[in-house]
């Protein structure tokens, strides 16, 4: 059988919340051995968050946490104790890769800064992901994804001008942009480390990383003095482009379909399908004409979509190869026949949270196996195993460390 792509690669994941752990998860899903290091004093904050199965208690049942930590092992070491710190450094010696998204203040305080860890393991790839990077006047600023959408300009650019810049409803950059940018940097550095036996430090400022993945408004400002305002679902380069309300069904009166005409062919097909006098009379065969009449065009499309259910529309539009799809809610995504046939979501059994759905991997590979094998670990589930197998401690030593509150 083929080896998994990152089989044999050892990762010490000292990150928490979204952006760090999802990077660790992707490495684990690709076959690396990923050990998540926490302490009960400072557990990963997501462990305490909703959603949780009804009546459940404790640190192990949050769906939010569990989804982002599949395939990892968990060890609990209090790095603020001197014995704990020594054990932490031995884990760093073991690792090929280390990840943290803590603040600079915290990484210095628990002494996992680059100077310290590179002395212990010169071949280590160490990824630091503080919100604003490791230098500069704002280097100690801290926060979560929904603050990053504000700082990086996403709030200003998202939604309709009539609404306040409230953001996109989620901590968006935490889930793909920042963790997977980190993954790309880590794999690149790992490639060098395997060739040249030289480790290095990766610095990912989540602010810079977020801006880098929506940089057009900034680039257009700096080079063409263009000022972007939020404009709902419209874009400069295509029209019509938006979501349109559909006929209510018994189950759902909040049904919308997204439609985008990216080229003349799409537009012509849509115009034929709707068969409206205004469209046939004016032709609108180029993007400039359509942009100039976008309000009226959108209004006509809306009148048309409101007469049909979203499912009817989706079929009709796609039959003509017009980019279109329902604005699906969580249930519709999970039950999406296409997603089901592609086996995207994975069901995994968890000792305390039961059998739950997990997001699958962001890509599939034809030859080497990737994907999920085990649910998220319980807090400290593998402390004993790791202490004995990786750190070479015997059971008396482990018991003493537990008694000293170094391991817990």
């Amino acid at each position: 059988m083929n080896k998994k792509p990152l089989e044999g690669i050892k990762v010490l994941d000292m990150s928490w919340f979204g952006a760090g752990p999802i990077c660790g998860r992707a490495l684990a899903n690709s076959g690396a051995t990923v050990i998540k290091l926490e302490t009960e004093k400072r557990i990963d904050g997501l462990r305490a968050m909703a959603p949780r199965p009804k009546g459940g208690r404790g640190y192990n049942i949050s769906g939010y946490f569990n989804n982002y930590n599949s395939d990892k092992k968990s060890i609990t070491i209090d790095l603020t104790t001197s014995k704990g710190h020594a054990l932490g450094l031995r884990m760093i010696e073991w690792a090929d890769i280390m990840i943290t998204n803590m603040t600079n203040r915290a990484t210095n305080q628990i002494k996992i800064d680059w100077q310290t860890v590179s002395k212990v393991n010169p071949q280590l790839v160490a990824a630091y992901m503080p919100m604003m990077g490791m230098t500069g006047p704002y280097k100690d600023f801290q926060g979560f994804g929904a603050m990053l959408t504000a700082i990086s300009g996403m709030n200003h650019l998202a939604g309709f001008e009539s609404n306040r810049p409230v953001g996109v409803g989620t901590n968006y950059p935490d889930y793909v942009i920042n963790p997977m940018h980190a993954y790309i940097a880590i794999l690149s550095a790992l490639r060098v480390a395997k060739k040249n036996k030289k480790g290095q430090m990766i610095e990912l400022s989540q602010y810079e990383s977020s801006v880098a993945a929506m940089a057009l408004p900034l680039f257009a400002h700096d080079n063409a003095n263009i000022k972007y305002q939020r404009k709902g679902n419209r874009v400069d380069f295509a029209a019509p482009h938006g979501v349109y309300q559909c006929k209510s069904t018994e189950k759902n009166n909040d049904q919308w379909i997204s439609i985008a005409c990216l080229n003349e062919k799409h537009w012509k097909s849509l115009s034929n399908l709707i068969n409206n006098d205004f469209f046939t009379k004016n032709n609108f065969s180029n993007i400039t004409d359509r942009k100039n009449n976008e309000d009226k065009i959108d209004q006509i499309i809306n009148n048309w979509t409101q007469k049909h259910t979203s499912i009817e529309l989706q079929e009709k539009l796609q039959a003509k190869q017009i980019p279109a799809g329902i604005v699906q809610n969580a249930q519709e995504v999970v039950e999406d026949e296409h997603m089901l046939q592609r086996n995207y979501f994975v069901k995994l059994a968890h000792a305390e949270a039961g059998e739950r759905l997990y997001d699958g991997t962001g890509w599939q590979m034809s030859k080497t196996e990737i994907g999920m094998n085990s649910a998220a670990p319980l807090l400290g589930e593998h402390t004993f195993e790791i202490c004995s197998e990786i750190l070479g401690l015997d059971s008396t030593e482990i018991a003493n460390l537990v008694a000293d509150q170094v391991l817990f």
């Binding site: 504000a150 989620t170 889930y175 690149s188 290095q200 080079n223 604005v327 995504v333 599939q364 030859k367």
Partner: protein, 431 residues
Amino acid sequence: MTNNSPLNDVTILDATASIGHYAGKLLADLGANVIKIESLEGDESRKFSPYLPNVDKLENSLQFLLLNANKKSIAIDLYSQKGQAIFEKLIMKADILLESWTHHEKEKMQLSHNKIMEFNSDLIHGSITGWGLSGPKANWAYADIVGVAMSGVMNLSGFLDGPPENLPDQQGYHCASIHAASGVLTGLLSRELHNSGGQLIEVSMQESLSIAQEISMQNWDIRQFIPQRTGESSQVNPMNLPGFGLYECKEGMVYIMTTGTAGAGFAGLVEMMDKHNMAGDLKETSNWEFIQTQMNGANLRNLLTDDDKKDETRIFLDHLEDLVTKFMLSQSAKYIYEYGQANRVLVGIISTPEDISQDNHLKEREWFQEIKDIKRGVTLRYPGFPYNLSLNPPSLRSAAPILGEHTEEILKTISVNQEEYKALQKEGIIL
């Protein structure tokens, strides 16, 4: 500029449409030799508005310039037999192929993954499409907004009395591209670490976005609750608690997340208000104790669902909201951002692209990159990279290519001499 970047020995053919441009850019910035395969008419995004002023058509699209710097361009008719023969030779020399061909395009070129692998069994072949290569919707048409809609992410964004909202600047394409770059690098590492040879890496935009649904999928799976767009509140703060969310300031706006256990919490915010004598009665013993112990989502949820406590809790929270709102209006957003963060209060500032362009923090970090684009006669300022590597940093080495700029140079690498090159040009196989 020397190329000391980690992928400086990797050759990539980038035949993607817009959905994959960012993938090629990420890898090019990390040093890879990325050859962009364009049709004779040029990439579709060369026509996209907005434009750089005073520059020729097809060379002036800002989106194209942004996402294609560091790449080379060969313009070639892949539907012609001779064009395909050239493409086959290029594949033989490549490490990675990125493409986003539709079913229809592949049929027209008579290309399949298996056929491609016959030319180069070590090739890492990355396919980036809206729906992936299998399943009932594999051949559906896609667009960025359609992927975001179908992934469940769009359903979380916007106000209930208005339409769902797409995310700005093509996040569906960015997420698909980021996962594609991750996937082909994983394939490359597997080839180098385990001799696993070449293989197909397949990205579906819909899948690449799904994990950004935050807790939406689990809310359905665990509680059979279907989240909707939340307007002024958010998925993780559906109760719209004080100290959490968007506030207007004297100048500008801030987004704060002080109701919770991170940083200095809500108490930190009250300390800041108190410094300006705007904390009202909040430092009085019982109020202060409540603020220090109860101002997090879990505790407030318990109080607000407890019949004995919910009314007085609601009254007190309204009082807090009133004081916070007044305080915010009395100070500039910049002050609240900088002073608050210096005291570990979780404040973000609402920034425009202009603000980011002038951000002192980014300037001091020398984040922005400049390059002289000689062909277009301009100096362009590029946003910097998402990350820095201490030994082998990413770099901006060359401006975005003119259509077909490197055709001759690239054909030389597969031993097409100048005579043959001219003949191919004459036949309309290359530009």
